[in-house]
């Protein structure tokens, strides 16, 4: 079984330690939700695992199918099967979604191997149908002038096309109204129902998203590490009691 292991991971930005001893194993097909108040290191964790150059790993390891990926560049990690859905995706003016994805798919082929353009478009359109995305969407420049909802749908479409083994979804619900949230959640659920579903690490601040994407496991992150784990009922408990409850319990522990 394919798995992503994060072992006692420590991450710093500059001199400042942000993630402090984070440990979690995700198996393919599982959905793990990470919840926690702002500033607790959730986004830092996702970016560090994806290989952002600004984040320094000061300890621990990240293993994909048993092999450490920490010495690999972000693009190598991506090609190995990791995907980061961004909270704030960059826009790439002048580059259409179709061409961007094509370049990303091409990058996964062996050297000298040419992309089959017809097959690529067939697959792209199939994924768009699955996610109920209009055909015109992919001729637009990546994220350029997109609404919050469009940006997130663009992320989901990329995830669907690149078929990662593991996806880190960073605050996918932020900035979305309830309709947009439902559309994005439907997309994620469609990918979960596919033949080879990815393992998903779902980072969120609110319980709301978990009404639509029901997680297998819920973890509470506080001060750079997981302080409590449970099933989906933990999310509801958090919703009812608020994060202060965690803070108190953790401070007491």
């Amino acid at each position: 079984m394919s798995q992503l292991e994060i072992k006692d991971l420590h991450v710093a930005i500059g001199d400042k330690p942000i993630v402090r001893g984070f440990t979690l194993t995700i198996r393919r097909g599982e959905v793990h939700a990470i919840m926690g108040p702002n500033g607790t290191g959730k986004s830092t964790l996702a970016k560090a695992v994806a290989g952002h150059p600004d984040y320094t790993i000061t300890g621990g390891d990240v293993l994909l199918d048993g092999k450490s990926i920490l010495t690999h560049e972000a693009d190598e990690r991506a090609r190995a099967g990791l995907f980061l859905a961004f909270q704030y995706p960059s826009d790439i003016p002048g580059v259409s979604i179709a061409n961007f994805l094509r370049a990303a798919v091409q990058a996964r082929l062996a050297e000298g191997e040419e992309l089959d353009a017809t097959a690529y478009y067939q697959r792209l359109y199939a994924k768009m149908d699955l996610l109920k995305i209009d055909r015109k969407f992919t001729s637009r420049s990546v994220n350029d002038g997109f609404s919050g909802g469009e940006k997130k749908r663009c992320e989901i479409l990329q995830m669907a096309m690149l078929e990662p083994k593991f996806a880190l979804m960073d605050e996918t619900d932020s900035g979305l109204d309830i309709d947009a949230l439902r559309i994005v959640a439907d997309g994620v659920n469609a990918l979960r129902a596919a033949a080879h579903p990815p393992g998903i690490l779902l980072i969120t601040h609110y319980q709301r998203l978990l009404d639509y994407i029901v997680p297998d496991h819920v973890h509470v992150m506080w001060d750079g590490r997981i302080v409590k784990s449970g099933d989906k009922s933990l999310a509801l408990e958090l919703e009812a009691k608020g994060y202060d409850w965690v803070k108190k319990e953790f401070a007491a522990a």
């Binding site: 290989g51 991506a78 960059s90 790439i92 002048g94 580059v95 990303a104 990058a107 690149l162």
Partner: protein, 483 residues
């Protein structure tokens, strides 16, 4: 007359003394080699040189006169270093060969061509035959047949498509009237130099009402002469005619000298349309100092599409003089300055009649220590009515060392004219690159995609084969720019 000299081409400039940018190998992409020349004017420029060139070409006395007059102007004019870069002072005019004509096949073999050059040709998808020419292995590019076909085809429509020597000899009645009129000899020091020693280039005349269906390409007729350093091109589109001309190719070019100074004149008579497309990629030891201008008569249209990559210094400001009512002028330009390169480019729009319109879109990309400068002139005098100009300059910087300057000079007098100007400077930032890398693209692929996106709206206006080559070329340039 034939003076058979065996000689070595001038060696590349010593990077240590000649290059103000420290640490850049200016000899890269430069490939000189031993070759026999049938005609060789020797090094240095004098009246003797000019007379020699004229006699080799068996020119009419008026052309010799024109050349000698130009030489005087050239010698008397100062370098334009009061506004342009001081790097111009590093051109050693006395070390340059002003005329070379290959009488024999060069003795270089394909095996002697450096591997990295071969690899580049391969990556760019340059056909086998053309590679040999471009690498200087073959003096004559084996597409003479293709060229003759086009020439014969358009000849049926009465179009004259010839090189400058041939055209001045065979059709003086047509070309003399316009030759040197759009760009006077003394327009600038380098147009004077070209006027004194010009050789090669295309002369085209399109008769009234003739619309040339296929683009005329210098690409199909590359030969030693056409690839000259001082080519001269004159295109005349008679009333209501239309023509598209394309020059250059994106392969790194075998260059015989470190100085390239061309003059291109366009004349669009009433209601005519000329589109002139250039895509060039120079070795980075070349000074590329080119004067390009067109005159658009009533309701005529001139469009320059200009793409400059490579060279040590390029100075080029294609212009249109909007001479007749409702004339239109357009310059679309892309410049890419990599490490050790300076692209000093822009556009000139001189409005000289009512209801004339002009459009300038200039995009520059500076990589590493590369430097881009935009210089533009838009002139609309007070007495004119209903003139419009639109100017957009966008600069993209890749890494913090790059430099970009914009010097737009827009003079719009009178209240019956309109102009709008937009300029932007953007950076390919780390977040954008990380975003693309997180999708599996390498840093180099990410950069080239960002650059291709930046120029996409302009590149789309290029003919298909050029935009494809341009994209490949940018991929190569970006690959090399990632540390």
């Amino acid at each position: 007359m034939a003076n058979s000299a065996t000689d070595t081409l001038p060696p590349a400039a010593d990077p240590a003394t000649d290059n103000p940018v420290v640490g850049i190998d200016q000899t890269k992409g430069d490939f000189s080699y031993k070759v026999d020349y049938e005609f060789d004017a020797g090094t240095g420029l004098s009246e003797k040189t000019v007379r020699y060139i004229s006699s080799v070409k068996k020119e009419a006395p008026w052309i010799l006169e024109f050349r000698l007059n130009a030489l005087k102007k050239f010698l008397s004019m100062p370098m334009p270093t009061h506004w342009a870069t001081k790097d111009l002072e590093n051109i050693h005019f006395d070390k340059i060969r002003y005329y070379l004509s290959q009488g024999q096949k060069p003795k270089r073999t394909w095996d002697e061509v450096p591997d990295d050059i071969k690899k580049t040709f391969e990556r760019l998808g340059i056909p086998e035959q053309e590679r040999k020419f471009l690498a200087g292995v073959e003096a004559q590019f084996d597409s003479e047949a293709a060229y003759s076909n086009i020439k014969d085809l358009v000849a049926k429509q009465g179009v004259i498509f010839a090189n400058s020597t041939e055209a001045l000899r065979e059709h003086p009645e047509i070309f003399r009237k316009f030759f040197g009129k759009v760009i006077p000899t003394g327009d600038n020091k380098f147009s004077a130099l070209n006027s004194a020693v010009f050789s090669g280039g295309s002369f085209i005349y399109v008769p009234k009402g003739v619309k040339v269906a296929q683009p005329l390409q210098a690409y199909f007729r590359i030969n030693a002469e056409n690839f000259g350093q001082f080519e001269r091109t004159l295109i005349i589109a008679d009333e209501g005619s239309e023509v598209v001309y394309m020059e250059g190719c994106t392969a790194p070019k075998f260059s015989t000298s470190t100085l390239h100074s061309a003059v291109v004149e366009l004349v669009a008579l009433k209601g005519a349309k000329i589109q002139y497309i250039t895509v060039q990629n120079w070795a980075n030891n070349v000074f590329n100092l080119v004067t390009k201008r067109g005159v658009a008569h009533e309701e005529a249209e001139i469009k320059w599409i200009d793409c400059n990559i490579g060279s040590r210094l390029t100075m080029k400001y294609p212009g249109v003089v909007l001479k007749g009512r409702k004339a239109r002028g357009e310059v679309l330009s892309i410049a890419l300055a990599n490490d050790g390169q300076h692209q000093d480019t822009g556009a000139k729009m001189i409005h000289a009649a009512d209801e004339t319109t002009s459009n300038i879109i200039a995009k520059s990309i500076s990589v590493g220590q590369g430097r881009s400068t935009y210089r533009g002139i838009v002139h609309i005098p007070r007495h004119l009515k209903g003139c419009k100009n639109n100017t957009e300059c966008d600069a993209l910087l890749i890494n913090s060392n790059s430099r970009t300057d914009t010097y737009p000079a827009i003079t719009v007098r009178g209240d019956k004219n309109a102009t709008q100007h937009e300029a932007s400077v953007s950076k390919v930032n780390e977040e954008m690159i990380f975003y693309m890398q997180s999708r599996g693209l390498t840093e180099g692929q990410a950069m080239s995609l960002a650059v291709n996106g930046f120029i996409n709206d302009l590149a789309r206006q290029f003919p298909m084969e050029y935009s494809v080559e341009l994209k490949r070329l940018i991929d190569l340039e970006m690959e090399g720019s990632v540390g």
